[in-house]
Each structure stands twice: as structure tokens, then as C-alpha cells.
Amino acid sequence: MNIKSGFPLPFAKRYGKDLYAGALIFLFGIGAISAGITYNIGSLSRMGPGFFPVAVGAILVLVGLAIAFTSKRPDVHAEAKEHLPPEWRGWICIAAGVLAFVVLGKYGGLLPATFAIVFISALGDRQNNVKDALILALGMCVICTVVFWWALQLQFPLFTWG
């Protein structure tokens, strides 16, 4: 099996996605149980706040194990068409855009936040250049001012400091 063909692929290819999926669910289950036992579990007739999280956590642990153990090696012939590299640029830009909205919304106001989320996330697409993103962001700023600030009277100042 070719190990050099891109970072996460041979990994996933070798063990199958299901193993990781199962492990993830298993971990969530463990997390729920460990959080649940810190609250009061109580008894069946008088349940405490911890009972339900522990029960759901136990289900997650079991299901996670079941997913992991029933995972099969993926069919090499069927997998061949789905080899897409992870889209880091898109992911980073979208995440950064939303974060910028949160931060600038607090320390800048609605307009800077709007501009930032549209501009930054638009750069995530490889076909968009800075000019496209700029025009789109400015256009959304206008829409935002008219629709949300003026028409819908959103409780969000256009500009603010802290």
C-alpha cells in the first residue's frame, strides 16, 4: 500500500474510517460517564442529575465499540473515486471568519464584524481573489445595514468600542 500519497489517506485507508468513528464515539461516551458520575447518580426510583448522562454515556461506549469492531477494511476498488485531499484553506478561512465575527462583534460593532466574516470566509474559495471578496463583503455590509440595522432594528450597534 502506498504510504506517501498525502497525509490522512493511507491512515484511513489502512484501518477504515469506522475504527476512528467508533473510537470517537467511545471517547464521547467515556466523557459523558466521567462527567455524569461527578453529579449525584441516585437510584432508579429517585434518579439524580447524573443518572441520565451516565446511561447515555454507557450507550455511546457500547455503540462506539460496536462500530469499531464491525469496521471492515474498506474495499480498495470502491474507495478509488473518493480520494479528495482535506480542504484546509476552506476550513481555516470559514472558521477564522466566524471567529472574527465574534471578536469584532464585541470590540468593533456590526459593520466590521460583517465585513470580516464575509471577506475572510470568501477567501477560502480558491476561485475568489481579494477583489471579489472585497466587493462581496462591501455588498453584504450594505445589505446588513439596510436589512438588519434599519429595517429589522437588530440590537447590535453598527460601531462600538468594547
Partner: protein
């Protein structure tokens, strides 16, 4: 009882036809259709984006508008599926199979016309079933105590997890994740903060809109950015093309009826999603067709039956959602969430306590479907143009609308952050072949499931047998057990037949290698 229902329905029309309510219904259908048509946006993202708008409205127009958004976006999704082979709402994946080949053959307009006719027909049947079945169900539902409610919710959750799409185990895992997210926040009985990671903002539960927009909005953008290639099909659909001929109408009439019947049947079952219904309707048509080869190459029946089944299923789905408080799929879960936010507890009392809402909603279904037909006749040209909005402009703008929409629910920037967290989580889950829709089902039902479970065991002094000794509850538990057993059976048979076919393939290959020599 039937006369009473009809009388109530008349009253409902009175409510729904009030200019104020009619306007919101119209607005919902228009906006829903608009958003549904945009590539990559489905009914779920449309409803969750507009949910914040309804918070300040009265319950009746709010629900009328949401229902309008729902079928508007559903129909909009069908346009994308037929003309561009883009299934934005999972149930339309089946419509693509034959709808897109019809477009390629220059019959896209006819396919759209048939879709409209079958959805209107199916919705009407579904509404009639709703009118007569709801009071009946309510009279049974009054016998439900916490034990029964827990059992039926268990069945709904199991069915929602196992029967939606993909691996059943993964569906169950997602449902359980949803339950967990649903109970995060302050425990109503003890006041303990649970699963809040020490964040005071989370003490008031995870925001429904943030969860839905994260899972179905941001996660979709993360999955599709730089991947979604929207190529305008160049089809021009005119009004004239949408009118099917008499022969085509005849050809699609029986599939329409059968699709409607399947949808109605499945709608009554809590937890079965619309996707599975459309697949069954399609498979049935293919099975009983005299010329099964045509399917997948533009068979009209392959468009009419699944569309009819998904629309009748949707209508009938409102029955368990409204009268028991148990949503059939993620969209219904959203509508249920909206009702809860409005302070309306769905359940058997809803029909008697909020008669104007319930019957107004039913009447508005009809009005909304008529509005949909009227709207789409002149606007179809615009929708077709909208289909070509490049994804690179679409998703940044949509991201902004999501951020502002979430902010406006509680004027909280923290919840905008929640959207990002759920978006990334949803994209990771989707990358691992999970289907995230059951999360929403679990989230809405989570607190109720816990509450009924606690109450049932409090009343029985901790005796778990109470779930199988009470007859109604025992029926639901038996159904759940049957469901699990069936899944295990299919899984076992599946791995068996797979091994068999693999062996046969190997033998075949071996023999074919031998042949040429």
C-alpha cells in the same frame, strides 16, 4: 366526530385566511422557495436560518410561516435536484435519478410540472388523513402516562437513528449524541449544571438555532467549499414546458397514488425519515413497472412516486409531532423546537387548548400548497437563474446570514461561537460517514425522554418492569425490540451475502481468466 372535525377545519380556514396570517404564510413559502433553490441549501438550513425571525411573532403566524418555509424549500430543493442533479435535501436524492435524465432529454419542465402536481395531490391526501386521524390519535393519547410516552419516544429515537440512512449503529450513536447535547445545561429537578464545561452561558441549554445552523449550515459549507462545482445546466424552463400532456398525466397518476399511500403509511410511524420513504416508493415503482430498464434514464414514474411519498409523509408526520410531541425527522424536530420556544407544549392537549393554531395550521397547509403552485408559475424563470449563483459567492453571504441570525435569537455572540463548534463537529462526523440529522431529533427529545423516564420510575418505585407490564407501553417496547432484531438480522444477512458475492466474483474472475487460453 367527523362533523366536528369539518367544523373545526372551517374555523381553521378562518384563522389561516386572516390577512395577517395569510401574509406570513405567503412570505414563508416565498422565502423558503428562494432559499431552497440556492445550491447547497435545503429545508433544514432554510428553516433554521429563519427560525430567529419567528421568536418575536405570535405563535399562530410563526408556525404558519415555518410550515410555509418548509414546503417552499422542499419544492425549491426539487428544482435543484431535477435541473442540476444537486440533491440539497436528502429525500431528493431519489428524484435526481430520473429527474436529471429528463432534463438532459429536454423534459425538465415536464418533470417540474409533474413534481408540482404530485406534491399537491399527495399533500392534499396527507391533510385529509391528518384531519381525521388526529382526533382519533388524541383520544388514545390521553391514556398515555409517562411510561407510555417514554416507550414511544424510545421507539421514535430508535427508528430515527436506524432507519434514516447509512449505518444503523452510527445513527444510534448520533441520536445518543443528540440526547447528550439536549440535556446540557441546568437540570430542572435539582438545579445542577450539567455538561456545561464551566461556561455560565451554557446553563440555559444549547441554543436550538445554533445547533441546527452549525450542523446543517456551517458543516455543509465546510464539506462543500472548493468541492461544489455548480455548472449551469443552461436549461430554460418556460411556463409552457411545465404543462404535462394528458398521456404523461395518465402515466404518472398511479405512481402518484402509490407514492402517496407509502408516504401516508410511513408518516404514521414516528422516527422514519422521509428519505427512506422516497427510496421505498422508488423501489416499488421499479419493481412493478413493466419496463424497469427505463428507470434511471428519465422515467416519469421515478419522479412522481418519490415526490408524492415525501410530501404525503411530511403532512402525516405533523400528526405525531403535534399530538404526541414526537417528531418524525429533523425538520419536524425543528418545528417542535419552535413550538416549545413559543411556550406551546405539543401533546394531546394541544388540539383542544390551541385549536386555532392546530386547525389554522392544517388549513394553511392547503393554502400554502396553492400559494406554492401560484408562485412557481411566474417565478420559475427566476428560480432557474438563481440556481446558477456560484457557490463561491453564496457561502460567504450565507455564513453572514447565519451569524446574524444566531446572534439575533438571544443577542449573544457566544452562540455564534457555538455555531462554529457544532459546524466543525458536524463536518468531522460527516467525514466519518455519520449522518447528523438524528442529532437534532435526540436534542429536542433529550430533556423529555429524561423527564418521562424519571417520572415513570418514580411512580413505579424503581421497577423497570413497568415498561413491559403496561399494555400500550409494552407494544412500543416490542416494536423497538423488533426494530433492533431486524437490524441485526439484516446486518448478519448482509455480511453473509457479501461474502457469497465476493466468492462468486472471485470464482468468476478465475474462470474468465481461464477462458481465453
Amino acid at each position: 366526530m367527523i362533523e366536528q372535525s369539518l367544523l373545526n377545519l372551517m374555523q381553521g380556514f378562518g384563522v389561516a385566511l386572516q390577512p395577517h396570517n395569510l401574509m406570513w404564510s405567503f412570505f414563508g413559502v416565498l422565502i423558503g422557495n428562494l432559499i431552497g433553490v440556492l445550491p447547497g441549501m435545503g429545508a433544514l438550513s432554510a428553516i433554521s436560518m429563519l427560525l430567529p425571525l419567528t421568536y418575536t411573532m405570535h405563535p399562530v403566524p410563526a408556525i404558519l410561516m415555518l410550515a410555509g418555509i418548509f414546503y417552499g424549500s422542499q419544492y425549491g430543493g426539487a428544482i435543484g435536484a431535477i435541473l442540476l442533479n444537486l440533491p440539497c435535501h436528502p429525500p431528493h436524492a431519489v428524484t435526481c435519478l430520473d429527474g436529471y435524465p429528463m432534463t438532459l432529454a429536454g423534459k425538465g419542465g415536464t418533470a417540474l410540472g409533474i413534481t408540482m402536481i404530485s406534491s399537491f395531490f399527495a399533500a392534499s391526501v396527507g391533510i385529509i388523513v391528518m384531519i381525521f386521524a388526529s382526533p382519533l390519535l388524541v383520544s388514545i393519547a390521553f391514556k398515555f402516562g409517562p411510561t407510555e410516552l417514554f416507550s414511544i419516544m424510545l421507539l421514535g429515537l430508535l427508528a430515527g437513528g436506524t432507519m434514516s440512512k447509512g449505518s444503523a449503529l452510527k445513527g444510534v450513536a448520533m441520536t445518543a449524541m443528540g440526547l447528550l447535547i439536549g440535556i446540557a445545561g441546568t437540570d430542572v429537578n435539582s438545579g445542577v449544571m450539567r455538561l456545561t464545561f464551566g461556561l455560565p452561558e451554557l446553563s440555559d441549554k444549547v441554543e436550538l438555532v445554533a445547533l441546527a445552523l452549525g450542523l446543517f449550515g456551517v458543516a455543509e459549507f465546510l464539506r462543500n467549499v472548493n468541492r461544489m462545482q455548480v455548472i449551469g445546466s443552461g436549461t430554460k424552463v418556460r411556463l409552457r414546458d411545465m404543462r404535462p400532456s394528458i398521456a404523461e398525466l395518465k402515466q404518472s397518476f398511479m405512481p402518484m397514488v402509490r407514492g402517496t399511500a407509502i408516504g401516508t403509511l410511513f408518516g404514521a410511524m414516528p422516527g422514519t425519515g422521509p428519505t427512506i420513504t422516497t427510496f421505498i416508493a422508488y423501489a416499488l415503482e421499479k419493481k412493478i413497472s413493466k419496463t424497469p430498464d427505463r428507470f434511471g434514464h428519465g422515467a416519469l414514474e421515478g419522479v412522481a412516486a418519490p415526490e408524492a411519498s415525501s410530501h404525503s409523509k411530511t403532512q402525516v408526520d405533523f400528526i405525531p409531532t403535534m399530538s404526541l410531541g414526537i417528531p418524525g425527522d429533523a425538520v419536524m424536530a425543528l418545528i417542535l423546537g419552535a413550538l416549545l420556544i413559543q411556550g406551546i407544549q405539543p401533546g394531546p392537549q394541544l388540539i383542544s387548548e390551541h385549536a386555532d393554531l392546530f386547525w389554522g395550521l392544517i388549513a394553511s397547509f392547503w393554502i400554502g400548497n396553492v400559494l406554492l403552485v401560484i408562485l412557481n408559475v411566474p417565478l420559475i424563470g427566476i428560480w432557474v437563474k438563481l440556481l446558477r449563483v456560484p457557490y463561491r459567492y453564496l457561502y460567504p453571504s450565507a455564513l453572514f446570514f447565519i451569524a446574524v441570525g444566531v446572534y439575533s435569537t438571544n443577542n449573544s455572540l457566544f452562540e455564534v461561537g457555538e455555531v462554529l463548534v457544532f459546524g466543525i463537529a458536524g463536518a468531522i462526523f460527516a467525514a466519518l460517514d455519520f449522518h447528523v440529522a438524528p442529532i437534532l431529533l435526540g436534542y429536542v427529545l433529550g430533556p423529555m425522554v429524561e423527564e418521562y423516564f424519571r417520572r415513570a420510575l418514580l411512580l413505579s418505585h424503581g421497577n423497570m418492569m413497568v415498561f413491559v407490564t403496561r399494555p400500550i407501553s409494552a407494544t412500543f417496547v416490542a416494536c423497538s425490540a423488533l426494530l433492533v432484531l431486524l437490524q441485526v438480522f439484516f446486518w448478519a444477512r448482509g455480511s453473509f451475502t457479501k461474502r457469497n458475492t465476493e466468492r462468486r466474483l472471485r470464482e468468476q474472475r478465475a474462470s474468465s481468466e481461464r477462458l481465453p487460453q
